[in-house]
Amino acid sequence: MGSFYVKKGYDLKIAGKLSQEIEVLEKPDHVALCPERIPFIKPRLKIRLDDTVKIGSVLFEDKRNPDVKFLSPGGGKVVEINFGPRRVIREIIIRLDTDEQMETFEAISQELPAAIEREALIANIMTGGLWPLIRELPFRDLARPGVMPPAIFVNLCRGEPFQPDPDVYLNDRIDLFNFGLKILKRLADKKVHIFRSPDFATALNDLNGITAHVVHGKYPAGDPGVFLYYTRTSPADNHAWYIQGQDVLLLAHLLKYGTYPLFRTVAVAKDSLEHGKHVQTRLGAPVADIVQGHVREKGTRFIAGGVFRGYTTSRTSYLGLYETSVTLLPEGDKQAFLGFARPGFCKPSYSRTFLSAFNTAGLNMDCGLHGEARACVNCGYCSNVCPVDILPQFTLKSIMAEEVEESLAHGLLDCVECGLCTYVCPSKIEICDVLAAAKKAYYLESA
């Protein structure tokens, strides 16, 4: 069991904590799949409005590789297909029947995942619609099935604030998790690495020679990209695959029982984040179901997937395939009187320029910029927090000068898009956004 320390990073001083309690939600009326939130795919719809679908029916496939299917998270009628700008498919909404029909898939017995051919296993996962859960670094696209990965990383860290606690979602399901690990071992020729935070309490027995690493350090220590940066031994390792701990359960369920898994443990934090808790719901659940109770819509931002990397959603929307949290924060559109001269005992900051440096309590945060965009003054805060030792202030300039080779040499592809550089920037420059866009452009151009 290895353990290492991530030297840089930053833990938000945000008020509130998730409780371990888990609330089981009732079956929602509608569920949806949100293709817009799955990176890089080019969806081709296989259903039409008003079609009747079962749990596990194909809703769409990826034009780039039609074997990659995306299945319905519910049985019922397709009542809405919402398009966004440039005909991007936002949501495919399904009204659930009271008695949902279910597609069945080939199940493999628990003892024998080792006996099954790797190709057959991959084909099983693809027909079962769960291939997209495995993603490939450094671009975080869906894994390429034809390639043998250098390793598969299983992420048992929470990462950002208010994400589901692995101890909670693994509770009672540790056998399923172990079964999933066996499958992953088969996929990656035994090179599977689990990484977890030091406060992870569930006993991981029966690992069959899989290494479980303990990752110490601040956010984003629990990120597969950071894990890769600290453990890689050759450039070939850069294309490792990774999967979230909770998704291992889905994968295992599919192959063990032959049905499309629906369970999802979602972390939800609202009301100044004080009543954070876990809810047990299903894939593609409506945000309104997850965020129960009264919420002031105006001036509140619904964030799916974490305050650093998540996206803005709304009460009327649905949770994406990858997102397992909904965090509610104030919009931050309030002006601050003489803000630059205040002692700021309650103003969260990475810097030491506010008295909050002495305040050990969690602080209330909002989605405000807290300033205006300015030119970079080379203060170097971004490179002080960058977990993978990029020099964001210099990399940013090389990107703006369109020096692709130089930005690659700077480690652009190592960027884990954690958003810390953007967070700390006093000039309010969207550094992470520029880096992520450059990375994406490079990927699309070189593909």
Binding site: E274, T312, L338, Y350, S351, V377, G380, L391, S427
Partner: protein
């Protein structure tokens, strides 16, 4: 009940406009800006002056702009506060500088030396210089902001205050205006404004005055404002700065003894109650500022310590090569270099300007060290330019991108390839 208690931090936040008086004032100002916003908005009567309106408004209110892209949350620190912290750290040398300018002037003019009177006199000398510096500086800043359609940058808050503090108190106000104009326009705006300049604007301004109007920037008579006695110094007071004394000293004389004879003991040089640039004489108060800047994480301790190290090493080295016939400067105890002239002020407030300094950590050490070393070398070997720190910093400003370039190159070599 326990939940109520946990809510405490929120209650603090709610009290942002503590006290009803402040709240009323806040509302008043808020409404004022709201009422007049349309005049400066696009299509308004004063559309061109939009940046001025905006700068004034954001001075009072940090605007509530919600984030659009990742990440959703942002740090409370903005550039306005960043720069304000430097201004805050400039307060000790500024206040001492005001007092000292008044004190030296009163002393030279034979006026009473009571604290109040001296301080008022100091204010009368220094405030107009600061006022002109800010006014003319902002004029250019606004002009460029209006023409080039960008917001007014906070960098001038610092430049406009740094510049007066490194001027002699006798400086004519028109020269202050000309100097800050050069500093802001040539030193900064033609490169694209704050963040894009290669030289420190305040130092550029001073260097311009130094070479354009040497009579007003150096010599024995410019450091004390004399009034009341017909413009003549009271006999007992010498106007010579320690740097000047060191320059004129004879070969075989011990330089520290000479300095002491001239009234400059080490303690006096450290405390700073002698004639000199308005804010730069007191190493002690600069040290307080340095402590503040380092604690706040605004200035790089690497540059400051590197500079001190550079001065000491070079000073000791020069001591080693002293012979019977060498210049007196060579034998000066290196610690004197730290407290003489504007070294302390320069290395703490000017060299640490993040824009013109290197961004890499090792480069910062080298940069600081070279500034220290060059300061001593210029002082010792180039008697014409008594003040070495200014030229040393400007010279190293030019080299800092190069230092960064090489350090980054070395660093990237060690990085594992990923492409």
């Amino acid at each position: 009940m326990s939940l109520q208690r946990q809510r405490k931090p929120i209650i603090w936040n709610r009290h942002d406009g503590r006290g009803s008086g402040l709240k009323k004032l806040m509302k008043l100002i808020k409404n004022f800006f709201k009422r007049h916003h349309h005049l400066f908005a696009k299509g308004g009567r004063f559309e061109k002056l939009g940046p001025v309106f905006e700068a004034t408004e954001t001075f009072f209110f940090i605007p509530g702009i919600p984030t659009v892209k990742d990440s959703h949350v942002r740090d409370s620190l903005d550039l306005k506060r960043f720069m304000s912290m430097v201004v805050l750290a400039l307060m000790p040398p500024l206040i001492f500088g005001i007092y000292n300018a008044g004190y030296q002037s009163s002393l030279a003019s034979g006026l009473p030396l009571g604290f109040g009177a001296v301080f008022l006199k100091g204010l009368a000398i220094v405030l107009p210089i600061i006022f002109v510096s800010y006014a003319v500086g902002f004029f250019w800043e606004i002009l460029f902001a209006v023409i080039r359609r960008h917001p007014i940058s906070e960098g001038l808050l610092v430049t406009g205050l740094l510049f007066p503090l490194i001027l002699p108190p006798t400086i004519p106000l028109w020269q202050v205006a000309v100097g800050i104009s050069f500093g802001v326009v040539i030193g900064k705006e033609i490169f694209g404004g704050t963040g894009r300049n290669i030289l420190n604007p305040a130092l550029t301004a001073r260097a311009f005055l130094f070479f354009a109007y040497p009579a007003r920037m150096s010599g024995d008579t410019v450091w004390v404002v004399v009034g009341g006695t017909g413009g003549k110094l009271v006999d007992a007071v010498s106007g010579a700065t320690p740097l000047a004394i060191a320059n004129i000293s004879e070969f075989h004389e011990k330089i520290d003894i000479l300095l002491t004879k001239g009234g400059y003991s080490f303690t006096k040089l450290f405390v700073g109650n002698y004639p000199g640039s308005i804010g730069a004489t007191s190493a002690l108060l600069c040290l307080i500022g340095a402590a503040l800047l380092i604690l706040l994480g605004i200035a790089s301790y690497r540059i400051i310590f590197g500079g001190v190290l550079g001065v000491l090493c070079t000073g000791f080295f020069l001591n080693l090569i002293v012979t019977e016939t060498s210049m007196a400067w060579l034998s000066l105890n290196p610690f004197y270099h730290l407290v003489m002239g504007g070294f302390a002020f320069g290395i703490i407030y000017m060299a640490t300007d993040p824009v013109s300094a290197p961004g890499m950590n090792r480069s910062k050490w080298i940069y600081g060290f070279c500034i220290g070393a060059l300061t001593v070398l210029i002082r010792v070997f180039n008697a014409a330019y008594a003040e070495g720190i200014m030229l040393a910093i400007l010279f190293m400003n030019l080299l800092s991108p190069l230092l960064d370039h090489f350090e980054i190159k070395l660093r990237l070599k060690k990085r594992m390839e990923n492409a």
